[in-house]
């Protein structure tokens, strides 16, 4: 469980960070432009963030490495990805993923 003070600090910090990320460029862009290399780097950040997240969440769930193929997190990610690729539904993909996770966990004991 997370300490109450930490939760409030995270809430306040997230409000500030997310507002500044969205407001400062809008307010400043009439005077300056984002340099092209930086813009190119930024354009890849969303996909690399998600890839890093998925890799670590799936290979080291709850901080424990699971490096064999008998890993329900890794196996459940496959139908999740396939469902989203086909339907473009976040809710559908999440529900399929949770069901697949339960099934693989039961199968693998």
């Amino acid at each position: 469980m997370t300490n109450d003070g930490v939760v409030w600090a995270v809430i306040a910090g997230m409000a500030a960070v997310n507002f500044l990320l969205r407001f400062v460029p809008m307010a400043a862009v009439s005077r300056t432009r984002i340099p092209e290399p930086v813009a190119r780097w930024l354009s890849f950040v969303p996909v690399t963030v998600m890839a890093s997240l998925v890799a670590v969440e799936v290979m080291r769930p709850d901080g424990v490495w699971q490096t064999t193929i008998a890993n329900p997190y890794l196996l459940a990610a496959l139908p999740t990805a396939a469902t989203f690729a086909k339907t473009r539904s976040f809710l559908g993909a999440t529900l399929v993923g949770m069901a697949a996770f339960l099934a693989f966990k039961a199968l693998l004991g």
Binding site: N18, W41, V47, A93, L102
Partner: protein, 236 residues
């Protein structure tokens, strides 16, 4: 743009019509945000947030994946700084969105800028840029889009955070995989080209290697930052 008028009543009416137009444009966003907000509410309770804290977080951050990774960081034993670093990296894309939207907001409408910035998300950006292609983006209508999106995200969180307590053992329903599943779907949604796929593979490898030596979620941050730099260098 509003025609100059001395009749206050018709000005109010025009304002209302433009806001309403935004509300209509934003309604599909609301429908999409409610279930994801609900998932955030449930997972936030699991991570040690109170119901009120979960709702306040959604209401003040409106940060989608940025909120989920903060939870993930806290659940992995990270401190507040690690959670904030993670949310910053995940939401760096807003810098691009914000800069891209700026020129289409008329200077006379700049008092609405802080509000438009606050409600800038992947989905409101998509709706507003589509709207801007037809001419000057109407800031009032964009404010309507943002307000509806906010309402969907916050109300979904409220329902999830309140209902979370009445679900005895959420892991029975596979809730351990809810967050990885959502990230997996988001990842698939981000892969728009071969270059993106290569960037994803590089980032995943770097993140795993970094996670083996760094504490908490720092491996994810290194994977994202270095992976994107590698992809940018490759496509230069």
């Amino acid at each position: 743009m509003l025609p100059p008028t001395s009749d206050g009543r018709s000005t109010d009416r025009a304002v209302f019509v433009r806001l309403l137009r935004g509300v209509r444009l934003g309604t599909p966003i609301l429908l999409g945000y409610v279930p994801v907000g609900l998932a955030f509410g449930v997972l936030a309770r699991k991570a040690g947030f109170s119901a009120a804290q979960a709702v306040i977080c959604s209401a003040t951050a409106l940060a989608g994946a940025g909120q989920f990774i903060a939870l993930s960081s806290l659940a992995a034993g990270g401190d507040a700084l690690a959670a904030l670093a993670a949310t910053t990296i995940v939401n760096l894309r807003y810098v691009l969105f914000s800069a891209a939207l700026a020129p289409s907001i008329d200077a006379s409408q700049s008092p609405l800028r802080p509000l438009l910035a606050f409600t800038l998300t992947d989905e409101t950006f998509a709706v507003n840029t589509a709207d801007a292609r037809g001419g000057t983006l109407d800031a009032l209508s964009a404010a309507g889009v943002g307000a509806v999106a906010w309402l969907g995200w916050v109300s979904g969180t409220a329902v999830g955070a309140t209902a979370a307590g009445s679900i005895a053992d959420p892991s029975r329903f596979g809730s351990n995989f809810a967050m990885p599943a959502m990230f997996t779907a988001l990842l698939v949604g981000q892969i728009e080209s071969r270059r993106h796929a290569e960037a994803a593979v590089a980032a995943a490898g770097i993140a795993l290697a970094a996670a083996a030596v760094l504490p908490g979620t720092w491996g994810i941050i290194v994977g994202a930052v270095v992976g994107a730099a590698y992809a940018a260098w490759r496509s230069a």
